[in-house]
């Protein structure tokens, strides 16, 4: 089982906070990898909110190929962070040439494009770089999106953070998601490492997804190029989130109705029964069967947690106005926000979605039995 920790803070904080939480939850993961997402960035990136940032791992050859490709596309480097890797190798962490965090200036001929077109093109470029990298095994790309940094690597989270120097002052963010990985697959593929990101939507998940194959088949057949990969059965949660919010124009409160719809009797009692029964039927292949605890973030920097129908995975949300943490275990929260009012900690149950909106003032619990904010 993996361990998850996410935080949302009014002021930018270091990713080391999240790493610290993973470290205290060490009993729950085997340290076989870590994935980190930073959004709503502080520091130097504060000034370039529109510049797409490419995050990934590159070999010397790969970076040269990338540079050629990006120049071809008309992208110029605006800012970069170089993660200096110590010369001494640490057992369990593979030797890489370069961890890339680089912000780009958009090409001039993109100036007149609308946001939707820019988003689409950025995604297509990420997919292209991924494809090029898979072909020659010289590039791994995690995200290419404004105000977003992703780092993923194999190894113990704390050791890795120290190894990569994640405590550096340029690296801080208001939204941080981190996952300590339990390796249940023998071969570790970094594309199988949470969190998963698609066009501003990002999720990480605890637990296996038993309904993975039908969900993957359904998403793959939506004729949307970004719905691909699926080296991990958890990648679908991010894509379902994107599909329900962008494809179907639903609110976050409907996400849980897509992945874990109410059972028939409860559904008929719901104020939006008709809408929900149509949603349940038409999105039937997207029903997850758990056991999963999903933590995710949206383009507006809301942070949320949902549990599967059976609520078979741990998850707790707590904090104080201006700073909230989402954690697999309470000890993770204790490590990062010891001064919170613990009586207000919330462990979302099988029909709850816990949301901290961008104002970061409170944890809202959205129950599946309540009315929906519908686009109707």
């Amino acid at each position: 089982m993996c361990r998850l920790f996410a935080l949302t803070s009014e002021d930018p904080v270091s990713p080391m906070l999240a790493i610290k939480a993973l470290d205290v939850m060490k009993e729950g993961h085997d340290g076989s990898g870590v994935g980190i997402l930073l959004q709503d960035l502080g520091g130097p990136f504060e000034e370039m909110k529109d510049a797409p940032i490419l995050s990934g791992i590159f070999s010397e050859k790969g970076i040269r190929r990338l540079d050629l490709f990006m120049m071809d596309q008309g992208f110029l480097t605006k800012y970069k962070i170089s993660l200096k890797i110590p010369k001494k190798t640490i057992e369990g962490i593979p030797r890489r040439d370069l961890y890339l965090i680089r912000a780009y200036e958009l090409p001039e001929d993109w100036d007149n494009l609308d946001q939707e077109e820019i988003s689409k093109r950025l995604m297509m470029m990420r997919l292209k770089i991924r494809e090029m990298g898979e072909e020659k095994k010289d590039m791994i790309v995690f995200s290419f999106w404004p105000d977003t940094i992703m780092i993923k690597e194999i190894g113990d989270p704390m050791q890795l953070a120290e190894y990569l120097g994640l405590d550096r002052k340029e690296l801080n963010a208001r939204i941080i998601m981190a996952q300590g990985r339990q390796n249940t697959n023998y071969a570790i593929n970094l594309y199988a490492c949470h969190p998963f990101f698609i066009r501003g939507y990002c999720t990480m998940t605890n637990g296996e997804n038993t309904a993975f194959t039908p969900i993957k088949d359904f998403l793959s057949s939506r004729d949307f190029p970004g719905y691909m990969g699926y080296q991990s059965d958890s990648e679908v949660f991010a894509h379902i989130l994107h599909y329900s919010m962008v494809g179907l124009d639903l609110g976050l409160d409907a996400y849980k109705h897509v992945i874990t719809p109410l059972q028939e009797d409860d559904l008929q009692q719901h104020p939006d029964a008709q809408f929900l029964s149509h949603l349940k039927r038409s999105c039937r292949p997207l029903i997850i069967d758990g056991p999963n605890c999903i933590i995710g973030t949206l383009p507006d920097h809301s942070l949320f947690m949902v549990q599967d129908r059976k609520k078979l995975r741990p998850g707790v949300v707590g904090g104080k106005p201006g700073f909230f943490g989402f954690s697999s275990e309470i000890c993770g929260l204790d490590a990062v926000i010891p001064d919170r009012d613990k009586t207000k900690d919330i462990q979302p149950m099988h029909i709850d979605t816990a949301i901290v909106s961008p104002d970061r003032q409170e944890v809202k619990i959205c129950r599946q039995t309540e009315s929906l904010n519908l686009p109707l």
């Binding site: 296996e208 039908p214 088949d217 874990t260 039927r281 069967d289 056991p291 109707l376």
Partner: protein, 544 residues
């Protein structure tokens, strides 16, 4: 016969028959029950003469010849009286003196069941007990990576959808604009497939209907039953129970005059309309109700004269192409119920099934596709059709599902699988395997007859006389002396037993796979098979 008598080509000995009667003269009380009950008059009371020769080594003593007479049961060897192995004699015998035994050698009867140039016709199924479905195992067991569920105590929602499901974007759009959204029924994934009133006896049909009504009304299981092509009794058409019934129309249109006239009087819409184009047991051949079974009641319900054979044409005669057959007929049927009732075709599994499916994907009114595999049963068909025509269900379902997946319509047109599911008694395992291969639901026929009414038919060519109305259990007979053997209440009880047991077994399969909140349609990663070629063909894991 005498050794010097002429032999006819079809003169058979007991050794040539597929079933041989073992009889114990010592135990027999000559009560006559067995000869009375035998549906084919394969046995008769006979007088046997036995000669006893008494000789002595003493040449002066008289040698004598003594003739004894005794009575016993004798098996006939005429083709028309060949024992069918139903073992009703065994059931009737108070002293366990008689039983049919399968000829361990090769019988020669099959070379002769074409007297007067008429090939053999029978009821039943393909005579092969092999089942690829029985070889499929469920290999993705949740244990420590994620907890297995408790089949007995966890909450499950094992339901499926019958009807055209719109793609999510389109569905939400039509909901918003108050457009027409095709009717969809949420039903139990195990259905009773089409067996007509006529093919089945009145007691059997009534029992099935009562069982289904009980499951729905008392146990909350939305089980559905197809009428088969033979119409529907007028009282049922006008009752609230019609909502549990799928009305079948086939190429003979039997009973549809009555149905159409009953539409204004219907209190409830039927669950769905099934248009039968083909049947797995006899693909490319029409339905057949032989004259033996067309009595006054059947004739009235079907709207035909009494005592004539009713062969439905192999195709719907008013239509000549797939576009006509499928599109127009689905539209007409939808229109008849104001577009409130799902309408779907039933076809026999075939290498052309994909073409039908592709056609349906472009027809907004098509609500699903039922595919009947080669192991499907029938009340009457030519043996050659049953044994040699058709396509296995597993690969056909898989091909069709994968095709839908390729075009992104796997949730839009539910595929229902039928034909030989549970043929060796493994109903839940076979059904779950097909669901994970891509079926949305399962139709059973023979299994219901075997489990709920004690049908004795097997893949060893046992009994199989459904066609001529002499069913010894009264299941497929229209002869009151026979069908009174079957109490509809008992059939209903057994139908309930069958579905409850199936439900538990299905949960016992899906719970360890970590599934409970939705039917695992297309969850092929859970499946494995110990045959490499089959694994490749079905795109599932090869496990040894």
């Amino acid at each position: 016969m005498s050794s010097n008598r002429k032999l006819e080509p079809s003169s058979l000995s007991l050794n040539d028959l597929p079933w041989q009667i073992r009889y114990s003269n010592e135990r027999c009380t000559l009560c006559g029950q067995c000869t009375a009950v035998c549906p084919v008059k394969a046995i008769e009371l006979s007088v046997f003469r036995k000669r006893r020769i008494k000789t002595s080594v003493n040449k002066n003593k008289d040698h004598s010849n003594q003739y004894d007479t005794f009575y016993g049961i004798q098996q006939k060897t005429q083709v028309e009286n060949a024992c069918i192995g139903c073992a009703m004699c065994t059931m009737a015998c108070p002293n366990d003196a008689i039983t049919p035994v399968k000829n361990p050698g090769l019988d020669r009867l099959k070379f002769h069941i074409n007297q007067k140039g008429i090939p053999r016709r029978r009821g039943g199924r393909r005579n092969s007990s092999f089942s690829v479905l029985d070889r499929i195992k469920f290999t993705r067991i949740s244990m420590l990576t994620d907890p297995a569920l408790d089949a007995g105590r966890h909450e499950f929602e094992m339901r499926t959808l019958l009807g055209r499901v719109l793609p999510p974007e389109e569905n939400m759009k039509r909901l918003k604009e108050k457009g027409w959204i095709p009717p969809v029924r949420e039903i139990y994934p195990l259905m009773i497939g089409g067996m007509s009133f006529g093919a089945l006896s009145p007691t059997m049909w009534e029992g099935l209907q009562m069982g289904v009504a009980y499951l729905n009304e008392e146990l909350g299981m939305p089980v559905r039953i197809s009428t088969g092509e033979g119409g529907c009794p007028p009282r049922l058409l006008r009752s609230r129970f019609l909502k549990y019934v799928i009305l079948q129309i086939a190429s003979g249109y039997f009973g549809w005059d009555e149905i159409i006239h009953a539409i204004p009087h219907m209190k409830e819409d039927p669950c769905a309309i099934e248009i039968k184009y083909g049947q797995g047991a006899k693909p490319g051949d029409g339905g057949l109700l032989m004259w033996h079974k067309v009595n006054k009641l059947i004739a009235a319900i079907r709207g035909v004269p009494q005592g004539i054979s009713l062969p439905s044409p192999p195709t719907h005669q008013t239509q000549y192409s797939i576009e006509e057959s499928v599109a127009k007929m689905i539209l007409s049927m939808s229109m008849a119920w104001g577009f409130r009732v799902p309408v779907y075709p039933k076809i026999s599994a075939s290498s052309t099934s994909l073409a039908v499916l592709n056609n349906l994907t472009r027809n907004d009114f098509a609500s699903g596709l039922a595919i009947d595999g080669e192991d499907g049963g029938t009340g009457a068909a030519y043996t050659v059709s049953m044994d040699h025509m058709g396509h296995p269900i597993a690969s056909c379902i898989r091909d069709n599902y994968l095709n839908l997946t390729k075009i992104g319509k796997q949730n839009e047109i539910p595929i229902f699988a039928g034909g030989g599911i549970g043929k060796n008694g493994n109903l839940a395992a076979n059904a779950a395997a097909l669901i994970m291969l891509g079926a949305s639901g399962i139709q059973i026929g023979k299994y219901a007859m075997q489990a709920a009414a004690g049908c004795v038919g097997t893949e060893e060519d046992r009994c199989n006389v459904c066609n001529v109305g002499i069913c010894p259990k009264g299941i497929t007979s229209q002869d009151p002396r026979l069908y009174r053997r079957l109490d509809p209440e008992d059939v209903a009880q057994r139908i309930v037993d069958l579905f409850l047991a199936f439900d538990t077994e299905l949960k016992k399969i899906v719970a360890p796979l970590g599934r409970s909140t939705s039917l695992p349609i297309g969850m092929s990663d859970a499946l494995g098979i110990d045959d490499y070629a089959a694994a490749e063909r079905l795109s599932i894991k090869y496990v040894v």
